[in-house]
């Protein structure tokens, strides 16, 4: 009878398509918004992931997320290096500074200073030039993607019109002249300010003078040591905070979610998708059951038990949910794939289709529970009424 139930469902093409389209639309709303939400939250950890060589991030205990600058004393670096289980540790500078381009364009940039000797913590992909070029005098690297928007000569220089920055261009950082020696690509971040890389010592020279200047210590754990155990030792020894990369990413994400309110904002849209799903699927299923109630009543008269009819209705609902969800999540994935290189924050984490699927399933079960009341209350004797 399950096969008969499915034939009844798909046989009425118009209603079947309507039902599946409604569920696909609800799925699309839920999974697309879910994926964008996941994309935004993932972006909050982009810089940490891009700085992939370190196992541990050591910072002031009051630092709450990646853009939160609370500098430490330089001696922290030596203390970390002395902890058992640390293979190496390097300083990392990060701060917002004023940049002035050749045409007078002024923009705030995030300046990251890398350890002069090892250049550890540099950008993940060099597009033009090499990381080694940072060792040249006054050298900086600029973000090739930011060239498209943030770091752009808006008025142009000489005969040039507005154009992107390129190798050889001069940029004043906090009134210190620098030269672009290369461009890089990085993963898009939650925050939008352009990023420039330079060496740690040069960054300190260009930054406003401070008593404390060390933003982070990046450390690698020796093979065979547990990073969490080493992190605990670092915290005990230095009284600083030591996070694994994953922990720091999660902590940054939690802070941004808590402070920006994007969770309730996206949550409302996702909830709306759920409500729309319930309403659409509920109404269509109810109509479907209503139009087939004589058939169900006839089956009841012919000996079908309520349990059998329930199984039939649930089979119809689950089938429609499966197809609708498949289509919806497919379209979401397709849109994400097509726009993966755009500014759209899209990340279909495994949780998105799983929770999206559960949401659609719950939608359909609620709709089925409403519709099924009619089937259960059906009096088989109605089939004798003409």
């Amino acid at each position: 009878m399950i096969r008969i139930a499915l034939r009844m469902l798909v046989g009425d093409r118009l209603k079947y398509i309507g039902l599946v389209a409604g569920l696909a639309f609800a799925t699309l709303l839920i999974t697309q918004q879910g994926s964008i939400f996941a994309g935004f939250t993932r972006r909050s950890g982009s810089w940490i992931r891009d700085t992939g060589q370190a196992d541990l991030w050591i910072m002031d205990p009051q630092v709450e997320f990646t853009e939160d600058r609370k500098a430490m004393q330089d001696s922290a670096l030596l203390k970390v290096r002395g902890v058992e289980g640390i293979e190496w540790a390097v300083p990392l500078y990060k701060s917002y500074v004023q940049a002035r381009l050749q045409d007078g364009t002024r923009v705030v940039v995030r300046m990251i200073g890398l350890d002069d000797a090892t250049l550890t913590g540099g950008p993940p992909i060099m597009e033009e030039g090499t990381l080694e070029l940072l060792k040249q005098d006054r050298a900086i690297l600029v973000d090739a993607r930011d060239v498209d928007d943030g770091l752009r000569l808006r008025r142009g220089v000489g005969d040039d019109g507005p154009r992107e920055l390129r190798v050889g261009d001069r940029v004043d950082l906090n009134e210190h002249e620098t030269v672009v020696v290369g461009t890089f690509r990085r993963t898009r971040e939650f925050f939008w300010d352009p990023v420039v890389y330079t060496t740690y010592s040069r960054a300190l020279r260009m930054a406003p003078p401070e008593r404390k200047s060390l933003g982070y210590v990046l450390a690698r754990v020796k093979p065979g040591f547990d990073p969490y155990e080493v992190a605990r030792r670092v915290e005990e020894t230095t009284r600083l905070r030591a996070d694994t990369s994953d922990d720091y990413e999660a902590r940054s994400m939690d802070f941004i979610l808590a402070k920006t309110g994007i969770l309730p904002n996206f949550g409302i849209t996702i909830a709306l998708g759920f409500v729309i799903g319930v309403l659409i699927s509920g109404q269509l299923l109810y109509n479907f059951i209503l139009e087939n109630q004589r058939a169900f009543a006839a089956m009841k008269a012919m000996g079908a038990s309520n349990m059998l009819l329930l199984r039939m209705v649930f089979a119809q609902v689950l089938f429609a949910a499966f197809i609708g969800f498949g289509l919806g999540v497919g379209v979401t994935a397709l849109v994400g794939q097509l726009l993966h290189d755009s500014k759209l924050a899209f990340h279909m984490a495994w949780q998105v289709p799983v929770f999206g699927g559960l949401a659609i399933l719950v939608c359909c079960l609620i709709a089925a529970a409403i519709s099924i009341q009619r089937v259960l209350r059906l009096e088989p004797a109605v089939v004798f009424k003409g």
Binding site: R7, A295, A298, G303, L308
Partner: protein
Amino acid sequence: MSASTSTRVAVSCRGVTKTFGEGENAVQALRGVDLEVLLGHMTMLVGPSGCGKTTLISVIAGILERSAGECTVLGEDTSRLPDRQRAAWRGRNVGFVFQALNLVPTLTAAENVAIPLLILGVDYKAALARAGVMLERVGLGARTRSLPAQLSGGQQQRIAIARALVHEPRLLVCDEPTSALDHETGHKVMELLREVAAGENRALIVVTHDSRIFSFADRIAHMDDGRVERIETPTRN
């Protein structure tokens, strides 16, 4: 009643009443029906609208519970069975031809016919094969894959008959089987019922207003105001 007659009794109703609603709104549809339906007979229930014919066949078929009286169908007092068992009993023993046919429009003729078998748990392919055989018997062997909308009224009625018989029930209940058909088609359907459905081991109850088919009956029970007023045995053509 002789011993041989009693063994051939399919349905025995004594003083059956059925009341819908309660108090001032109560409507007494059956007011003490006495009726016997014999195996191998086609019994027609005739009478004016609202006289209780449909209620009576609903009670006999185990779809409605009577309010009072006794009714044994194929040796079983179905009112004593729990809902689920009563449904299973109907599935095994009763075939229905509904006035509105109640064919599922999105299913093929064979699938519609196979429904009673599928309800009984027969495998889909086996049920479809038996439905095909049944459709052959009613002259629709070539239309197994047709949808009801692609068939004429008479052909749809044949599908309904095939569906009612495919699981070989011992009681066949037909509600106004010719009401939507022209005279000629109605006659053909009744001939088909006599030819295919009637048998020593099966009882047919046909509810009808159509006096043109009375001649097909072995017995005619005239009902009025919730009672069987008289039973006659018509003369065959």
